[in-house]
């Protein structure tokens, strides 16, 4: 009863002896306060704006505004070659840039009919799971900071720095990686990478257990999160929720398991599902997903074998530097490749992948040129952010902060 919106409304207590004459919901006569939160408010993750009409402390009605970091990536997709656009995909969900790189590469490879070798797929899977863990660590860490648990954030962030070290070993960058190339990878994993990865996995397991003990049964944390920001299954379907937020409400769907790409068929993992769809469940789903991702990572490290990382397809193969610097043909090939780009055959495809936040989709329409005719990016955050207004209706204004932190809005993929 208390978890429904009507239930919450009926819980608003009236002072003893207070006579209700007109509207039973209207506690303060007609006194409503309009509060504008954002776009640079600390509780807003990134540049978002929310305008809420308050009755006392209860949100009666609110609307959201975004677009404060709109960078026109879809327009750029039509004006840059397919190879050039890889850089822009980093800046979508910048907490897990590697997943965006991989999904974009998969989307173009699907259009071109390119098969990448096995080692490349394993490395891509390692990238995805590393990025997923980093994203979830940020999400639950910042959510906890918003509710006052600062040390929890420091535990997570330290482990994230260690993960950055691994990512730096792979591609030399920390946040915006641009690691994948269409038909391959920028570089092979260095020697001994598997061993270091496994050491990191073992250490992270301990840290996650520690974080779990620190926060999960904390009384204050539970009071602030259980039953707050409830979004049930029907609402999730109405607002196209996906990923951990949908799984927290009982939608048992994970694209890694149900529409497998790369080599996800060959690894074993569970899909954590919760039932209530409140802030606490979203936190728990994310925490369990980190554990599952760690399992996948250690399996990947075991199964990865030496081999080529580039596809055999000559259209997308970046010429070797030794050839470029030593032969005329290689130099011409190099210039042609980077100046005009390769042509993608006509066609259209919607490629989806289970990103850290939910279903990340690239809908690319090609007309046979080296630039896309239409590059549509479906960021899960847009749909999640849309649900925040109905989610917090009837809640206290302080619970809005908890709810917003728990659905993990990333401004980069929200505004694109």
């Amino acid at each position: 009863m208390t978890n429904t919106r009507e239930g919450r409304r009926s819980q608003i207590e009236l002072p003893v002896g207070y006579q209700v004459e007109h509207d039973p919901d209207d506690l303060w006569g007609d006194a409503r306060v309009v509060v504008n939160i954002g776009p640079t408010h600390p509780a807003m993750h990134g540049a978002l704006r929310m305008v809420a009409k308050l009755n006392g402390e209860t949100i009666e009605k609110s609307y959201c505004e975004f677009g404060f970091t709109h960078r026109a990536k879809e327009k750029l997709g039509e004006n840059r070659t397919f190879h050039n656009f890889t850089v822009y995909t980093d800046r979508l969900n910048y907490c897990s840039a590697l997943i965006n790189n991989v999904t974009y590469a998969l989307a173009v490879e699907k259009l071109m009919g390119i098969q990448v070798p096995e080692r490349c797929m394993w490395i891509r899977m390692i990238c995805c799971e590393l990025a997923r863990i980093m994203d979830h660590l940020i999400c639950i860490g910042i959510n906890a900071v918003d509710l006052g648990a600062f040390s929890f954030f420091l535990y997570g962030f330290h482990q994230r720095e260690e993960a950055y070290t691994l990512v730096e070993k792979l591609c030399g960058a920390r946040l915006t990686t641009s690691f994948t190339r269409i038909g391959g990878l920028m570089a092979d994993a260095p020697d001994g990478f598997e061993r270091e990865l496994k050491a990191w996995v073992e250490k992270t397991r301990k840290v996650i257990d520690e974080m779990d003990e620190l926060l999960t049964n904390n009384k204050i944390w539970k009071k602030r999160t259980v039953g707050v920001g409830v979004f049930n299954k029907e609402d999730c379907m109405q607002y196209s929720f996906s990923g951990p937020n949908a799984r927290a409400a009982g939608i048992d769907l994970d694209l890694r398991r149900d529409q497998p790409c790369l080599l996800y068929k060959e690894v074993e993992f569970d899909v954590p599902v919760a039932q209530n769809g409140d802030v606490f469940d979203r936190y728990m789903v994310r925490l369990s997903e980190i554990r599952q991702s760690l399992n996948i990572l250690s399996q990947c490290a075991d199964k990865m074998k030496k081999g080529p990382i580039w596809s055999e397809d000559k259209r997308v193969r970046i010429p070797e530097k030794t050839v470029v610097h030593n032969t005329m043909e290689g130099m011409i090939h190099h210039f042609k490749f980077f100046m005009t780009g390769f042509e993608v055959p006509p066609g259209e495809a919607y490629t989806q992948f289970e990103a850290a936040n939910g279903e990340l989709g690239f809908y690319i329409v090609s007309k046979g040129a080296s630039r896309a005719h239409r590059m549509r990016i479906r960021g899960p955050s847009v749909w999640h952010f849309q649900g925040i207004s109905p989610m917090v209706e009837g809640e206290k204004i302080a619970d809005m902060v908890a709810a917003l932190g728990s659905i993990n809005i990333i401004a980069g993929e929200l505004d694109r």
Partner: protein, 165 residues
């Protein structure tokens, strides 16, 4: 300072003394909009720990802070907000342009992006990178501290000119 740690007396100019205090107690306002905001968080978190340089008191209110860290993209919809925040800060105020997007628009030369915040507000220090690594942020902060100690930031110079008038 004596060998036992007791301070006798030091002589200095009052301006230098004030600037020395200012440089070691910077209160930043993080204006983090996108990717750079995450790296800013990383430089504030335990591993890089900006508080070693006296800049850990994060204030989200422009009235209480003196360093505006513009971390990330400023687009044309956000630009008036940034201007308002800058105007609300009290003197002396310093601006750090964090990353390529804020400094020049970076790789986003498109219809919606402001091509560098220095077209709107004076910038004291630019940190290159997309996004800059935390080492770069700390380096930038130390350079800014040098500038403050010399009284060479935009707002300090403006204040000095006002005094002369």
């Amino acid at each position: 300072m004596g060998k036992d740690g007791s301070v006798g007396y030091v002589t200095t100019r009052l301006d230098d003394f004030i600037n020395w205090g200012r440089k070691n107690s910077i209160w930043p306002l993080p204006f983090g909009t996108s990717c750079c905001g995450i790296e800013m968080m990383a430089s504030l978190a335990a591993d890089y720990d900006m508080s070693r340089f006296g800049a850990e008191v994060i204030r989200f209110s422009p009235r209480q802070s003196d360093l505006l860290i513009v971390a990330g993209i400023i687009n044309l919809k956000m630009a008036p907000v940034l201007k308002t925040v800058y105007d609300q800060m009290s003197d002396p105020k310093y601006v750090m342009s964090f990353g390529a997007c804020a400094s020049s628009g970076g790789i986003f030369n498109v219809y919606s992006v402001l091509q560098g915040i220095d077209t709107m507000i004076p910038v004291d220090i630019y940190i290159p990178g997309c996004p800059p690594a935390p080492e770069g942020v700390i380096h930038g902060l130390m350079r800014l501290q040098e500038l403050i100690a010399q009284g060479q930031t935009h707002s300090q110079r403006r204040l000095a000119q006002l005094k002369q008038v």
